[in-house]
């Protein structure tokens, strides 16, 4: 356990995870529901011919792979940042109510809106997440402490959950509840490049806000007073992390539905590899999240289980045992 032997894998961790995430993105493009002649598809796409093969490559497989990467990175990064902010390994991005509100926004705008386009759903979700963030800060106040934030998040989650149920109850489409239950389990199926163009900029801004919080999260390891004495303002640190999470995760939920456990498990798995420093955990968790979501999406398509499993179901099945392990370890430490 010498210092030198620990820093080497730490230095290689981010590049290794980044390469893995990009490799899985490429693999995801190659995997689908029907055999696709990739060479022909690429040639046609390059020549600008609208053959079904080229269209499937450009309009279906590429957006799906890219969204898998973006959504996974958002969930992993926001999870790591939220755990750092709340100084709790059981925290996840949904804890402050962003995901629930995004789902509510999507349902409301979709089932009660007019003028349906393919971006109606994600735009509604983003609006819901934005509104929840404003309500969160209004509820918790500017100098809000951690407990107040979590309580406000619980309140928003509870409200969003029951309001979603109410909306589905009153929706004009009798199958709305069924559809939305499945949608909420998360899926990357049949998304388009328009989803990518909508999500990518918002997520990127969220990522920058979260990464900018890294030094502050490091300082927070030693408590709020010490962090302040090291030159960090807690109110602005909370603003960065929560706004960044709302942008990244709110958009992710809006585009793909809720994909659970990624934000919880990925930071937990990688924490020891970066020596537990919360700021150093952010970038590896982003790429780790990308790896997890892409791997789950590939598994969903290749498992042969039909009807196809939902993405959130797969990540939860894989993630839940890690959560049990985490709780087990926490319990042992307390006794």
């Amino acid at each position: 356990m010498s210092g030198a032997s620990r820093t080497v894998p730490e230095r290689l961790l981010v590049p290794a995870l980044a390469v893995a995430a990009l490799a899985l993105t490429a693999a995801s493009v190659g995997i689908g529901y029907a055999p696709l002649d990739l060479t022909a598809a690429i040639t046609d796409a390059w020549a600008g011919r609208n053959t079904p093969e080229a269209l499937v490559l450009l309009e279906l497989r590429l957006p799906r792979a890219i969204l898998g990467l973006l959504v996974g990175m958002s969930l992993g990064l926001a999870g790591a940042a939220m755990q750092g902010l709340l100084r709790n390994p059981l925290a996840e991005p949904g804890i402050v109510g962003i995901s629930g509100a995004a789902a509510l926004g999507a349902v409301l705008v979709f089932y009660f809106g007019t003028n349906l386009t393919q971006l109606t759903l994600p735009l509604g979700g983003i609006a819901g997440a934005a509104l929840a963030t404003i309500v969160l800060f209004a509820l918790a106040g500017r100098g809000a402490g951690t407990t107040t934030l979590i309580l406000a998040g619980v309140a928003i989650n509870a409200f969003a959950g029951s309001a979603t149920a109410l909306a589905l109850n009153l929706a004009p489409n009798p199958y709305a509840a069924l559809e939305v239950v499945f949608w909420l389990m998360g899926s990357l199926a049949d998304r388009s490049l328009a989803h990518v163009w909508l999500a990518a900029p918002l997520m990127a801004i969220g990522w920058l806000a979260l990464l900018a919080a890294a030094p502050g999260l490091d300082a927070l390891t030693l408590g709020e007073d010490t962090a302040t004495s090291l030159g960090f303002r807690l109110s602005s640190l909370r603003l960065w992390v929560i706004t960044g999470s709302a942008l990244a995760v709110g958009t992710a939920v809006a585009v793909t539905g809720a994909i659970g456990f990624v934000g919880l498990v990925v930071p937990h798995l990688l924490r020891r590899l970066v020596g537990s420093r919360p700021g150093a955990l952010l970038l590896p968790s982003a790429f780790g999240g990308g790896v997890m979501v892409l791997a789950a999406d590939i598994a969903v398509r290749t498992s042969g289980i039909r009807p196809e499993l939902k993405l959130g179901v797969v990540t939860s099945i894989v993630g839940a045992p890690f959560l049990f392990h985490l709780i087990w370890r926490l319990r042992r430490r307390m006794t």
């Binding site: 356990m1 300082a219 390891t221 007073d225 010490t226 004495s229 030159g231 020891r272 020596g275």
Partner: protein, 269 residues
Amino acid sequence: MSGLEARGLALGHGGRTMLAGVDLRLASGEMVGILGPNGAGKTTLLRALAGLAPPMAGSLALDGTPFARIADRDRARAIAYLAQGAEVNWEMTARAVVALGRLPHRGHPKSRDDETAVAEALRQADVPHLADRSCATLSGGERARVLLARALAVRGRFLLADEPVAALDPLLQLRTMELLGSIARAGSGVAVVLHDLSLAARFCDRIVLLAGGRALADAPPAVALGDAPVAEAFGIDVIRHLHDGETFVIPRRPRAPPIARSSDDRPSP
């Protein structure tokens, strides 16, 4: 006007007055002990001096510049603060914890001596052998020393330490006080909250004695820890023992009536 200076400092929390007009000046090269009974406002005063709690009234200035006009990070580089307790939330190594003291220096031209500063802080606090241990596996005393090293790694011109010897055995208490004294002699201004009257009398250049949010005394130990102020502040009689030119002040017994503290909800007899 060099030094860290508070004038007429008043602070409250939840309607309760914690500090009611305290003056304090901490100059470079001196070691000031802050003493007083529980609830006297010692921690509040130290937090205010570190810029952690904005005062309701009074002024705080660093080398004559009001705190409000100093950037957070500049203030953080100048004033190191060691909090009470030993909070370390993640299982980081001691070295990584100490390195957190360098955060105010990030992006600063001098940041190249980060590693030197961390190594020196570990050595000063006598914990280089613990550098690669996880903080979760350290004893209370070891962890307190590592956190002291963290504060030293800031290399601030002022060091404010809240009960740095509370968790330490007698040997480490002495070592820590010697270390703080040497840091003061090397040119930093050190303010330290203590409960041990003897350590305060032997190692501090000056004592600020607080009670009920007011300074009862701000004077050299021989004056501030005299019978009258100690009796008024703590409600105790002490034994004084002179040995090799150093004064040892040992609590002997409570004064009658047993605990005669002035308090809002208990009228003094």
